[in-house]
Amino acid sequence: MAMISAIPPVPEMMGVPRIVPGSSITCVLGNPDFPVSQEQALRRRIVSKALEALETRVVDTTYFQAA
């Protein structure tokens, strides 16, 4: 499991092993101020990072930060 969260310290406190920081609380996989194509690109980057997290061996809580 990889968790995409807008408030990473919360899953970190719970001990979630694979955390992917999201965009914002009300729009974790997007940005309403972006034009559609730019928002899609952002969502693509975060989801790719989450899939990368699923493919990565981890021991303790690890952050996977999308570019």
């Binding site: 499991m1 990889a2 995409i4 092993p17 996989l29 997007g30 309403p32 899609q40 989801v47 989450a50």
Partner: protein
Amino acid sequence: MTRVMHYINQFFGGIGGEDKAEYPLTVTAGTLGPGRLLAGKLGDAGTIVATIVCGDNTAQYSPEHIKQEIVALLEQYEADILVAGPAFSSGRYGLACAEAAEAAQIYGIQSVVGMHPENPGIDLCPADVMIVKAGESAVDMAASMEHLCRVLVRQAAGEPLGSEELAYCIKRDIRCNTASRKKGATRAVDMLLTKIGGGKFESEQLPPHFSRIEPAPPIEVPLSKIALVSTGGLVPKGNPDRLEASSATKWVSYSIAGRASLTPEDFECIHGGIDVTHINAYPNRLIPLDICSEFRAKGLIGALDDEYYVTVGNLTPVARAEQFAIELTARFREKEVHGVLLTSS
């Protein structure tokens, strides 16, 4: 003689197993099932005036309604104290026992509950409820009932528990108000200075304890089936299963077969803790089905589960969320899901 109300589930009430988990809340005068053992141990100290039997699923579907029914029955039978369980390791039964204990608190009487130390129901029991340690399963019934009875007799008599009885109970970190000669600000600064100076200090409050989660081994995503899960409360328009906006009592799943995107016409966000405007405008902002479908078509993801799974994290107790995870994992194993993307706010 103390009048005891006993709460048990459908299995211990002799109704049936998992197939009878939706058994309605019913009451029977006197004892049922393990209540007979308890009554024998109580002797003259108390009498079990009635036994409430309720299906484990029923207790989860509408907890407020169940609590009200229990309160009414406590009044009807003029109960002095409530005993729930022992629930052993059964998670839903433990949660139901916690609800029964809450009902007792509402009615204004004490309760004693029995369950295994790792039962998720523990954290949902009101702070002043004594929880007696039980084993993992009914194999431990005799010992569990013996200890439950000892604690029950003390509580009913209003007597403090002896050290032996306290050892039978599960230790909980409960905060109590007390007066101090120094203000909180002064104590905090003193503690900080001691800490900086390398001295020994004692924290006034222990941080919450969350058990370590063992990370799952990595998977090869292009060869794996991925499921989309969210605590963000995205549901079909109209919220057909009435998922709660906060303190969710369940998780639900909805078909995304044939869908490449979650559309604003068909879905809405009912999460009660955030502004849902942006998610409602474009639900893929919470559950990224659009991107995952694209990746699936390109072979970057092996397969997508034909359903997505959702609950609401807002004010939902950790213990209950743990129970959801246990149930979801069982479902994922059935559906041969290899990996999960969990999204939240």
